[in-house]
Symmetry: C2
Subunit: 415 residues, 2 copies
Amino acid sequence: MKEISGGVVAAKGFQAAGIRVGVKASALPMEEQTGEGKKDLCMVLSDSCCSVAGMFTTNQVKAAPVRLTREHIASGYGYGVIANSGNANACAPNSRLHALEMCRAAAEATGHQPEEFAVCSTGVIGQELNVKAILEGTPRLVAALHADECASDEAARAIMTTDTVKKEIAVETMVGGKRIAVGGIAKGSGMIHPNMGTMLSFVTTDCAVSPAMLDRMVHEIVPRTFNRVTVDGDTSTNDTFLVFANGQGGNETICQPGEDYESLKEALMYVCTQLARKMAADGEGASRLITCLVEGARSEETAERLAKAVVGSSLVKAAMFGADANWGRVICAMGYSKAPFRPEYVDIKFASSAGEVLVCQQGNTVAFDETLAKKVLTQPEITIAIHVHDGDSSAECWGCDLTYDYVKINGDYRT
Amino acid sequence: MKEISGGVVAAKGFQAAGIRVGVKASALPMEEQTGEGKKDLCMVLSDSCCSVAGMFTTNQVKAAPVRLTREHIASGYGYGVIANSGNANACAPNSRLHALEMCRAAAEATGHQPEEFAVCSTGVIGQELNVKAILEGTPRLVAALHADECASDEAARAIMTTDTVKKEIAVETMVGGKRIAVGGIAKGSGMIHPNMGTMLSFVTTDCAVSPAMLDRMVHEIVPRTFNRVTVDGDTSTNDTFLVFANGQGGNETICQPGEDYESLKEALMYVCTQLARKMAADGEGASRLITCLVEGARSEETAERLAKAVVGSSLVKAAMFGADANWGRVICAMGYSKAPFRPEYVDIKFASSAGEVLVCQQGNTVAFDETLAKKVLTQPEITIAIHVHDGDSSAECWGCDLTYDYVKINGDYRT
């Protein structure tokens, strides 16, 4: 898979923009530190009609923009998305109306229909959205649309909340003999969990693919990428993943599973995996990306449940912050996952660029070099590699360590 | 319910002791600060045979002492318990043997049978237990048994790990016209969750009750007390709750449900509730006890699931640390609990000794006095009171805030 530049506008026919309209009234702490992310309104738009597919939060409390977007993309077609940061437009007065107004403003400024737009919001829950600022700013947002390299950067920054880095990636691949591009942006750092806690991600491609095939692909990919990230176990009211495919790459439209389907899926999987890992690494206050790889499980589902329990354990996360090879907490987390395994078969290794160290064999402690373990665990990317010797299935989940800064960021986010 | 002194030896015929034998080789951080808890071997013993009942961890990885104790109390009878802190005797060499050896040593020093003893361990997982120190110390432990007021205190301290305060309570009540006492001790601060994450609790009573009725009572009480505490979502390998009833109170033995059963149950419920609250308040690094009360639910199970999700949310916990009235995180946690409720019916209040403040009505934001909210939320005990207007059931769950100290304590516990 060849990475290319351009992010969400790497594919032909897409434009993007990110501007500041004033939804983020007071700058958030992280932004003060980095001077970034103060943009708060974003658009990604195709100049021709797209096949659209998406997946959304499983939280029972669904924000108005999530509900509206589901209705709008039910047709399988659309042109783009308008999104704001700084306010989730959830559990707040007039939230449905405000989400509608955002789509109408986007439609009016672009010459499309409101129902051809998806709409997303991220930020504080329970405060009325300053929709006036958004409606007034939308013509300026549309005027700012472009496809230069920095367009993706601008759009990515405009959806950031407590994120410390913007997240974008693009790749190119061959589908049906044509060069096609797949690229995307994402935001998400706190509240990221199995089912896409407060994350937004918009992916574009110039591949030609039917809405049905795109939807099928999304449902295969999201559970293995975004849903395998856990930061703090909370899922949000606003999580949204959207993919737009405008067909300008010139391949024969993918209308059924087969070689072309697999080629596009591979590229989309790569893009989503990288975005998911970037989100895990940017978990609120995180200092380390933690990957938990479970191998030898009797099913992929079992492997995933075990891996998720490990990267989701507050005690494991705190031990990783302290670079403490406390594998007892790893096997303990596996134990309460409810996934089947035999403790007496379990091997556990810690690995990183500094090497690897076996700490548990057949469920029991083994002598290991504490100095090496410390060296391994003080790297920015750690893998907890578990073998359960019970089958041939495996899964990888991503999370981060639990730090003082997580508590700091979340102890006073709202004020 | 009248509280009395004496803790786990308040009931007639019980003795207790706590001594230091050296299992805790290096003092744990909290102990260095408080100068307390360095004791590491505990016994509670009745001078006549008891009805015994218990509940244990649901973690698939069960420590050897948990497995052995379940076998030993299967008869429904026993004399007491021997317990060490500093090492969990889990996932470590010879753990089954060492648990057996502890029971044998206790039996030998007291003149009973090994299977008449329960055995518990709490502490680090994956390191071989220094059983030699325990075996050598057991005669001294038994010699130290007494029923003075400080016996309960000594025993409570000997099972502490990262606990900052010892936990004990006793009450007296009337059963069948006789005055009977119920008292207990507990340890637990980290890893406390729905299903009794690393907690030990031993309760004694001089009430006469059959093993079957005692077992039934325990299964009614534990799910409503210890299982409603959550500190960090992790459950441990060693959780154990045991109750010993020696019948010396002279009431007619409770052999079936009825008035006497309810009287004893009420006292036991009170003792377990107080011990559970003490554990929540002493969550690792906690600065506040958080009670979540859910009312108006369609079933008790629904109320409990909603309340547990709220007190278990890292984001809610961090907001409570920051005294931030961020009710959006409360409704968001309810939303991912999977328990049925209608967001648009939900009212949320924050309450404490400083007053109460309504922050959400019918699922929507309401104007509230931020100064008052800050005052309410800076108290040591906070209640998040939720009404879901969907039925008549309610439940209360307990947790604590998430603080810098939680991260500190758990970032380097093992070394």
